[in-house]
Structure formats: C-alpha cells, structure tokens
Subunit: 343 residues, 2 copies
Amino acid sequence: MSSSWHQQPVKTVSEPMAQAARDHFARLSGPPGALGALEEIAARMAAMHRSLRPEPDPCQLTIFAADHGIANAGVAGMTDDATPSWLRNCLHGTSASAVMARTLGVRYEVIDVGLAHDPGPLPGLLRQRCGSATTDFRTTPAMSEHQLGAALAAGREAVERAHAAGCRLFIGGEIGAGKSTSCGAIACALLGLPPETVAGPGSGLPAEILSFKAQVIQNAVDHHQRFFSTPLDVLRRLGGFETGALCGAYLTCGQLGMTAIVDGFCSSIAALVAVTIHPALKNWLFFGHRAAEPGQYAIFRGLDSRPLLNLDMRLGEGTGALAALPLIRTACALLKETQPTAP
Amino acid sequence: MSSSWHQQPVKTVSEPMAQAARDHFARLSGPPGALGALEEIAARMAAMHRSLRPEPDPCQLTIFAADHGIANAGVAGMTDDATPSWLRNCLHGTSASAVMARTLGVRYEVIDVGLAHDPGPLPGLLRQRCGSATTDFRTTPAMSEHQLGAALAAGREAVERAHAAGCRLFIGGEIGAGKSTSCGAIACALLGLPPETVAGPGSGLPAEILSFKAQVIQNAVDHHQRFFSTPLDVLRRLGGFETGALCGAYLTCGQLGMTAIVDGFCSSIAALVAVTIHPALKNWLFFGHRAAEPGQYAIFRGLDSRPLLNLDMRLGEGTGALAALPLIRTACALLKETQPTAP
C-alpha cells in the first residue's frame, strides 16, 4: 500500500442508472415525486451500484475509539478516563450502537485506535493503536506524519475487510473524549468559520465553558494555520486518530465502490476532509442525520448536502447513521419491487 | 356496538412509566438526551404500554379505499377511474405500500369502503362499502348519517381485528380520488384556516387550478358551516368514507390501548377530527411524517405535534407512517436493551 493511496481516484457512479431509477418512479401510481426523498436515495444507490436492484446489505458498522490530548484541558464534558467503560459497553452489546446494530442486523466491530488509557486485550476489541491519545493541539500537531498514516490505514483496512466480506454499505462510528473540540477546530480551519459557530455542548459541556472552548479553537487555528497547505495537514494538526480512521474509511469506500452512511458531527468532519481531497467522493456518501451540534449546519452547507434524518441525536457511535439505514433499505426495496401496473 | 361508541373515553397512559424510561436514558453513557427523539419515542411507548419493555410488533397496516364526489369536478389530479388499478397494484403486492409492508414485516390489508366504480370481488380485497363514492359536497353533505356511521365502524372493526390478533401498532392508509380537496375543506372548517393555505397540488394538480380548488373549498365551508356543531358534523359534510374509517380507527386505538402511526395529510386530518373529539387520544398517536402538502404545517400546529420524518413524501397508502416504523422499533429496542454500564 503506497503512502499516497489516498490520492487514488474514487470510482465514478452511473448517472444514466440514476435517471433510469427516477424514470421507474415516475411511472408509478401517484403524483410525481410521491415517494419524496426515498426516490432520490434509491436513484443514488442505483447510480453507485450500477443496478436497478441495488443491494444495501450486508452492512458493516466499525467504531473507531480514541482520545484527544485536548480532552483534559477543560473543554470536554467527558474526560478520557470515561472512555474505557463506554467501550466495554459496546463490547458487551449494551451500548446504544450495539443494540441498534443487533436490532438492524448490522455487522459490528470496535477498534481501539488510540485510547489515552490502554484497556489491554478485551474480548471482541480490535487493536490498531496509533498512540495513547493524540497530543494536545494547542501548541503542537495532534499527530505525527506516521500517526496520521496509521490512522488513515486503520480506516482503510476496516473498509477493505468489509468489502472482502461482501458488505455493500459501511457505517463508521467514533468514541472518545475531546472529539467535538477537535472537530470544531477542523471545521473552522477548512470552512473559515468563526469558532463560536462550531463550539457546541459536545458531551454535555456547561454553557459557561463554551466561550473558553471557542477560544481554544481560535488559538489553535491561529497557531497552526500557516502550515495548512492540504486538508490532511489540517487533519494531522487538529484531528484525532478516529477522525483520521474515518477519513481513510470514506476515501476507501469511494475507491472500492462501497456506499457509506456518515453519522453525526465528528463523522461529517471526517467526511468533509475526505471530500475536500476528492470532491467526487460525495457521490458515495449518505449523511444519516443532522446532529444536535451547532457546527453541523455549517458542515452541511460546506458539503452542499442534506441529512436524511433530524432527530436531535448527538451520541456518535454511528447511531445516527444506523437510524437512517432503514430508509436506504426501504428505498432499495421500492425500486426493486414496485410496478407501475399490477402484473 | 352503540351508535355513540366514539364518545367512550380513551385509555390513559402512564406518565410515571414515561419518566422511568427517561430516567433510564439519563443513566446511559453520553450527554443528556444523546439519543434525541428516539428517547421520547421510547418514553411514549413505555407510557402507552405501561412497560419499560414496550413491544411495537406485530404491526398492522389497513388501507381504506374510497372516492370523493368532488373528484371529477376539476379539483383532483386523479379522477376516480384511476382508483381501481391503483388498488389492484396493492392487492398484487407491487404498490409502494405493499412493498414497504412486506419489507418491514407488517401485516397488510386493503378495504374498499366506497370506490366510485365497484371493482367487484378481488382476491385479497375486503369489502365494506359505504356507498359508490361520497356525494359532491359543494351543495350537499358528502355522507348521510348512516354512511358516516358505517365508515367509522369500518375503521373500528379493522382495529378490533388487529387488536384481537395481538397487534400492538396500527397504521391506517388511504387511497382514492379527491381526498386532498376534501381534507383541505375539513382543515379549514376545524382550524379556521383560509383555503389558500391548504389547497395543495394533491395528486399532481397543475398550479393554475389551485385557486379554483381553494375557491371550491371556501364555497363548501361557507355553504355547510352553519350546520357544524360537532367535529363529526364537519366530517360527515366534507369528508370521505376513508377519512371516516381512519377517524374511527384512531378512536378505537385509543379506546383499546393500541399505538397508531398517523400517515400524511389525509390521515392527519382524520386524526385531527378524532383528537378534537377526544384530546387525550393524542397520547396514542405518532405522526409519521410531514407530507409535502402546504396544509400539513397548519395541521401539526393545530395538533401541537411534531412529525418523526420529513421526507417530502405525498403518496398516502400509509407509506409515510411505514417509513417511520423502524424508528419506533429502534427506540423500543434501545429502551429494552441498553445498559448504563457493562454487566
């Protein structure tokens, strides 16, 4: 695997197949566009999979767990000592993502890509640690070049495994302390946003600390921005191992031709980095939901995309993307099985 | 069955059980309210079914098919000669609702409660005809007292059958020509709205006919309104057999203690009539989606309710409610199976 694999182009999608799907729906009983967003979901699946019978299953959810060096600087509602128990809940099948994946028949795996406190070998936990949390990015890059490469590769390999197992759809999730501050900083750097518009409550931050969080983001962007010449520079200096893994995962989805459902705020930041590298990657992504984080609006504007759901969720773990999965399955079934007139 | 069965009260729901569900979610990893709307869906299901393990299945979809006398007056995108083929598509399992119900594992039935053109006995079609379309309501009540009673009873009996079969969740759908004009008129009469705010494109009406549709609605409301002393007067004079059946179905859901997912514009009008009769019925209803009809906004304001999805669907047939069903199933699974810490 070349160190510049991420520069390889993503697969093209078939616009004629999308149009054929739209034509199918136009012939059904009812007014034009009667099935609303489901028609366009199906058309996009047809375009990606070059078929009027696109298959959304099997579906894989991979959760990347890592902590951020910034987590213990007073900007995060959750410090990094809480992450291991969260992760054990996933492995025991009692976290929200594990319950949803089981209910929906989605393959499930959790990878430690860099918790601050190494939980050691745990049954069911994959280990691909890029470090023990990133470095506090206030004055130093969050990741070394080597660490960024390892994080991207962790995501790439997860999608390659899913692809080899015949999966058609990939969902990435993330767990970790400090992620919303890091992701807010990336959003400000890539989209030129003022930090107040992205500094949200994260994992339960009290309102009075939000201005401090915004200041931390502003200072970090000011400190690093003269080194930003590519999107990966921004990711390396401000991001996390899990953001890097998600970015690598989405890029690989586009390169291998797998559909991805992007989860909430942090996942959409990883998608933003990946789409900035390859704009055509957007053709392979669904945005599952609009997370209840203020920065989420700006990201969707930046990506010119509309999320499928708006349920005020803000957990991460891939839960918002999982909530949207039934819509994609339903849309594919409608394209495959509806008929304009009774046979 | 007394002719005034609809006046019987609806069952109460358990607010302590809803609070216990909220308390469960508050103990999970992640920020407060991290699962967003899914938490409140689960809390409402817990309140309705008085259990922290509420079961949403089996689920029944019953489609009520009927035409409106107003359908051929130039206000409907679809005239009543198109209804039988639409209905046959449902019976053959190739309509959107049939495909979705099959995909989602939902029991499915179609009842002719009054098509203009009697399709005769068809395999799988239930017949409970209240007439051959309603009367054109421009100058005459759409239904007689007897017809309204028969329509309400068709809905009641569908829910009673579902309840006897052990169903926990009921979805009503509708098919028919002229329904959006009729439902718009009911909305104007019950909510005091100007007709321009509810006269939408229905089943594909060209924009230039919308003002005529609004005028028809205004004239009908003006003509009948001195006879409006109860919500059922409005339903009888302006509504359809399928609206009556849906209204009867929702009332019965509340009386028997079954959850209902209300579909789009026409179903929400039937729900509005039913909730106007019994405000506490709202506790038993989820609103599946916001249909792409202009009147839909006003109905939700009138009902003080928020739909689960916003997918720009406008087919009817229960499809919008079916699209929302996985959210309710997911919410129930989350309440039942998530744990605050790994066991």
